[in-house]
Every structure is written in C-alpha cells, then in structure tokens.
C-alpha cells in the first residue's frame, strides 16, 4: 500500500509539473489567434471570437524570418562544434594526465565561471574589437563556448567512465595520444555531446544581449522577436504568434535529435 502511494506520487508530481509548465503558455497560444483590437479588450483566457491567422502570416512572411533562422542555426552549430572540441580536449587532458600546473588549470576554469559577464561587457567588447572578431559568427560562438565551463565537467564525468585500459592498450599498439583521443575517446562521448547540443540550443536561443551587441549586422531569431517591441509599443498578438512558431520549430528539432539518438543507441545494442 505504502509503495503504491509512493509510486503514485512519483508519477503524479511529474505530471502536475508538466501541466504547470503548460498553463502560463495557454494565454499566449490563445492570444496569437486574436486580432489586435480584440487582444487588448478581452480577458487573456477567453477564446478568440473571430480567430485569425493574420498574426502568423505576418510573422512568417516578414523579410528576415528565414534568414534569422538560418543565422541562428549557423551560430548554434558553430558554437556546438567549438564547445565540444575545446571542452572535451581540456577534459581529456585534465582527466587522463598528471602534470605540474594541473590544479592551477582546473582552478582557472572554475574561476572564470563566476565572473559576471554582464558587467565585464565593456572590456570584453574592447578585446573582441582588438581581435577583429566583432560582427563575426566565429567570435560570438567562441564567446558562448568559453562561458560554459560546466560542460568541461560533464565531459570529465563521461571520460572517467571510459576504462583507462583502452588508452593503455592502444598506446602499446603505437597510437599517439591525439589518435587515442580522436578514435577511442571522442566516439564514446556521444551522450554528453547530445546534452551539449540541447544545452547550447537553449542558451543561444534565449540570449539576445550578446547577439545584439556582437552581431549587429545579422538578425537572429531572438533579436527578430524584438522587431515587434519598442519602449512605447508592444505588438503582443504578433509576439504571441512568433513565440508559438518558435516553440514549434524548436520542439520539432529537439524531438528529431532525441529520436535520432535513441535509434542509434538501439542499433548499437
């Protein structure tokens, strides 16, 4: 009996939480089908009396819609590549080798994680300008990559699970360390890489400040949404519609990534 109650709670809490996540989004979905005048004069939860698709049409046909999605994808892919390679290399070096300044290197990566980027932006901007990385996708992707130290730790955890004997036997057959890393370690990092993909996707998707600062010449999805806002005017129905469109796109991508990953797992076992 007691087990049953616990089992019930175990599922119920998750289901309630999933519902709680969806409730605040409901008015957004309802609002996206309302005309501008109805939107401001009706209660958030009352359904549209004359549902309209005009908000969606306006969002999807706006000039920058496709190019913004493309730019965001470029940014995310670049950032995933840089983060994955750099973080896993650091994790490999730190996890598998002993060396003189190891503790210092580890501390360095811990320390940088608690420097509040928001306030250092003026000096970061100067460095970006100095290195001519301003207004390049590379530059911003690098900035995104070095700010996520937590990923190095995920890779370390992952590498620790891979038996060091693999390294040793490969070493005896004459492989060099880079080959070991690339041929033996890297393919085993797939679970973490998937998390990096999702993590980067949500981070970059969310951030607008860095994108508006360092990519002034390119529109992205998160800066796109702001074309409907200004200090004195918020075009909420259009904003609602773009939110819904963006949710649909990202959830689709997420589901595809996961299905792909699960299929791979199955084919391996």
């Amino acid at each position: 009996m007691r087990n049953k109650i616990i089992n019930f709670l175990y599922h119920a809490i998750t289901i309630v939480w999933l519902a709680l996540i969806c409730i605040p989004i409901v008015p957004v979905i309802i609002g996206s089908f309302k005309s501008s005048s109805e939107y401001y004069s009706s209660a958030p939860l009352s359904l549209a009396s004359e549902p309209t698709l005009s908000n969606y049409i306006e969002v999807i046909t706006s000039n920058d819609f496709l190019i913004s999605i493309l730019n965001t994808i470029i940014l995310i892919v670049l950032s995933i590549i840089i983060t994955t390679i750099l973080s896993s290399m650091v994790a490999y070096a730190v996890e598998r080798f002993e060396f003189k300044y190891k503790q210092l290197v580890i501390s360095l990566f811990v320390i940088i994680s608690f420097l509040p980027m928001a306030v250092m932006q003026i000096s970061v901007f100067q460095v970006m300008n100095f290195t001519h990385l301003n207004n390049t996708f590379w530059g911003l992707a690098i900035l995104y990559s070095i700010s996520d130290v937590v990923i190095i730790y995920l890779f370390r955890d992952n590498i620790r699970k891979i038996s060091p004997n693999i390294d040793k036997s490969a070493k005896l057959t004459g492989a060099n360390y880079f080959q070991i890393y690339w041929k033996l370690i890297f393919p085993n990092l797939r679970p973490t890489i998937m998390i990096v993909c999702i993590y980067k996707l949500i981070n970059i998707y969310n951030d607008f400040y860095l994108q508006s600062l360092y990519l002034t010449k390119h529109k992205t999805i998160s800066t796109l949404l702001y074309q409907y806002t200004s200090p004195y005017e918020m075009l909420w129905p259009q904003i609602c519609a773009s939110i819904v469109v963006l949710i649909i796109i990202s959830v689709t991508i997420l589901i595809i990534v996961q299905l792909f990953y699960q299929k791979q797992l199955r084919s391996e076992s």
């Binding site: 005048s37 401001y40 004069s41 000039n63 932006q121 003026i122 901007f125 100067q126 300008n129 301003n134 607008f208 400040y209 508006s212 600062l213 002034t216 010449k217 998160s222 800066t223 949404l225 702001y226 074309q227 409907y228 806002t229 200004s230 200090p231 004195y232 005017e233 918020m234 075009l235 909420w236």
Partner: protein
C-alpha cells in the same frame, strides 16, 4: 506647386542653416544608423526612400539597434570606436556635454544653426551643436474626452481639480488614470518643467533642497501618492501594460494616461475618432499659466569616427527637417524655427491652444553637471528613481512622510558632499 516651392525653399534653408560646405557629389555610398528602435527598418522606411531619392548616389542605409537597454548598448560600442555613422545620442552623453566632442562630429556653430532651427542647444558644447532632435513631441495628459464629459468634469488644471474629476470618474465605474508606473516612470521627468518652470535646476540648487513642500519633485510625488492611495489608478500599478492602457483609454475604460504625442495617432485610431482622444498639459500651472511641455524625443548626431561624414550629416539634416516628414509621422514637429506650418491637424493643438514649454531645463552645462552629480550621489539620477520607490510606499501602506524625509536627507547629504 505651392507645396513644391515650399519644399525647395526649405531645403535651401537647411543647407544655408547647417553651414555645410559639402556638395551633393560627396553624398554617396552607404551609411549605418544606430537607433533604439528595434523596428527601425519599417519606422524609417519612408525616410530612407526619400533620402535615396534625393541623393541617388547613396546606395544603402543599414539600420542597427538592440533589444536591450540602448544606453548600455551604445556606450559599450562607443568605447571601441565602432558605433555606426549616425546614431541616437545616449541619455548619459546628454548629461555630460563636455564629452560630446570626443565622440560626435559637430553639425555646425550653434548660434548660426539657431537662426533656422530650434533646440540646437540640447547637445551643444562650446558653441558647437553635436546633435539635433529627431522630432519635438509634447508630453502630458492623453485623455478621453467622453469619459471626462460623462463624469461632468472639465480637464483639470490643478491637482485638486484632478482629484475631484477622478472621484467623479471612479463613481461612473471607470479608472481615472492608468499609471503605467512599472513601464514609464521616466515620462514624469519630462513633466518637471511643468511643475517647476524651465529654471527648476537653478532653483533647486539655490534652495539646496528637493522634496520640501511645493518643490516640483515633491508636487509630482504628492500627486502620484494621492492618486494611488485614493484608488484612482489601475488595480495593480506593477502589472501594467502600455498597449492595454492605450486600448482601455480608447475604449473609455480609463480617463487619462500620461503619454507623449508619439502615441496620439495610435490612440486616436484605436478610438476611431480624433475627437475622442486629446492631449492636455500636466494638471498644474506655473506662474499662473498652463504650458504644453514640448521637447526632443531623441537626439541624433554623427559619429566623428565615421568614414562617410558628408553623407551622414546630410542624412541627419534630411531626417530632422520637415521635408522628410519623419517628425509628423512620429506625432511631433520638426525642430525648425519657421517650419511646421503644414503640420497635421491633430497635432496643431500644441501650438494653437497653449504656449509651448520646453521639457528640459535651461541651465548652463556646468550647472547641469553639478545637478546631475548631486542626483547620482543621492542615488536618484532622475525623478523616475524616487517614483519607482514610491510605488512600494503607496501600494503597501508605507509611511509617506518618513519616505519624503528620507529622500530629503539623501538629497541634502549629496548637496553637502558636492559643496
């Protein structure tokens, strides 16, 4: 034909006025304009088309903006030297005028410019003007005439009249004022001159106090406090939304909002009639008269790091003149001495019914610098800070007298520090 010659004449004035020695041949290529408008491309579409039509050598205008705080964004870019060819001048730079020459290109001698243009002193330093208003907008009560008529109230000209009108409006089951305090407390800083006159900075410095009975800051805080505690505002001033306030104003659920004339056309369109929504000055008289406050919406200038200064200057001149039509589409006037004869009718009230009044104090730059320093040291860079703090006192049964006394202490400590 008449209109055409008017335009022609006007453009001559602009060129003579701005005293640029550039000829049209130099005006070519591409420029980047940085603004706080995320929808700049649409907002300035007509301006861009008109400018390129006038100067066919110009290939393109690129628009850049931020979704975040504009001041933060542009000052970060300014430290690096890359901040576009034309830009809206950040608020912080207009507070430290001596820094203008470091970043901005002079548009001309201020005295010369002021023959044809107004508000040339807003961003001027040592006789040079560095930026011009993109449009001059009035600010005050945007009210629904029907709501006031139904309540039997006339447009208030003092706080007491306002409270009476509000009581009547609330009796009719409507909200008197939608305060928008969570979004737009800064609008009240444009109202300070209505309460204290154009010389309020000098007056406050001379008095050494800021929150004594009758001083402009105090009058504004008293008004907002009374409005909130009497229940004359929306139910929760923390969850307000600007578009909702305009929609409710238009539909007659709200009596008035404090708003700039930028939004007048929108509100009138929502109400479906120009007669329903009108603008009036803040409910106060200074020296026995009511004035319609008028001031720059934003200031625009040219970066001195630009490599296409001639085109950039021409663009600024074109944008701010009535020729571009931007000021009108922005619900305001072009900063021209003799311009604005062709202003749209729904805006004409600003010059017909009232003396216009500047929203920004006329004090010399040193005095303004001192005033700003005291404000910073007192931890209130503008009146929006005490207003934001006031919300907590007014909505949570705080001790208002104590609140005012604390503000006064903060101010006087800062005055003492800068003495």
């Amino acid at each position: 034909m008449k209109k055409l010659s008017g335009l022609l004449l006007l453009s001559l004035i602009i060129f003579a006025g701005c005293g640029t020695d550039t000829t049209t041949e130099d005006i070519s290529g591409e420029i980047t304009v940085v603004t706080s408008y995320t929808d700049a491309e649409d907002k300035f579409a007509d301006v861009e088309a008109g400018f390129i039509e006038k100067y066919p050598e110009v290939t393109d205008i690129k628009w850049e903006s931020t979704a975040g705080d504009y001041d933060e964004y542009i000052t970060t870019r300014m430290t690096s030297g890359d901040y576009g060819d034309v830009l809206l001048v950040p608020f912080s730079l207009t507070r430290s005028l001596d820094q203008l020459p470091e970043f901005m290109e002079s548009l001309g001698n201020e005295e010369e410019l002021s023959k044809d243009w107004t508000f040339t002193d807003q961003a001027a330093y040592e006789g040079q003007t560095y930026a011009m208003p993109i449009s001059l907008n009035s600010l005050g009560m945007m009210y629904n005439t029907e709501v006031f008529e139904n309540a039997g109230a006339s447009v208030p000209t003092s706080s007491e009249e306002l409270y009476d009108a509000c009581a009547a409006i609330e009796d009719n089951g409507q909200t008197c004022m939608y305060s928008n305090l969570n979004n737009l407390p800064m609008l009240w800083s444009g109202g300070v001159t209505s309460y204290g006159g154009e010389g309020y900075v000098d007056d406050m410095l001379a008095a050494g106090t800021a929150f004594e009975e009758g001083q402009p800051y105090r009058q504004i805080l008293d008004l907002i406090y009374t409005m909130i505690t009497s229940g004359y505002t929306e139910a929760d001033p923390m969850t307000g939304d600007i578009m909702t306030s305009m929609q409710q104003l238009a539909s007659g659920e709200v009596g008035f909002i404090i708003m700039g004339s930028q939004s007048l056309a929108d509100a009138q369109a929502m109400a479906g009639s120009e007669e329903t929504i009108k603008m009036a000055p803040f409910p106060v008289s200074f020296d026995g008269e009511q004035h319609m406050p008028l001031g720059p919406d934003e200031l625009i200038g040219v970066s001195n790091k630009s490599d296409n200064i001639a085109t950039s200057k021409a663009f600024v001149e074109y944008l701010v003149s009535s020729e571009s039509g931007f000021a009108y589409s922005n619900g305001g006037f072009a900063p021209e001495v003799d311009g604005n004869k062709d202003a749209p009718e729904n805006l004409a009230y600003q010059i017909e019914d009232y003396d216009t009044y500047r929203t920004i104090a006329t004090a010399d730059s040193e005095t303004v610098a001192e005033f700003n320093q005291i404000g910073n040291d007192a931890n209130m860079p503008s009146i929006s800070t005490p207003i934001t703090e006031l919300i907590e006192v007014a909505t949570n049964d705080g001790d208002y007298d104590q609140f005012i006394a604390d503000l006064e202490t903060r101010w006087e400590d800062a005055v003492a520090k800068n003495a």
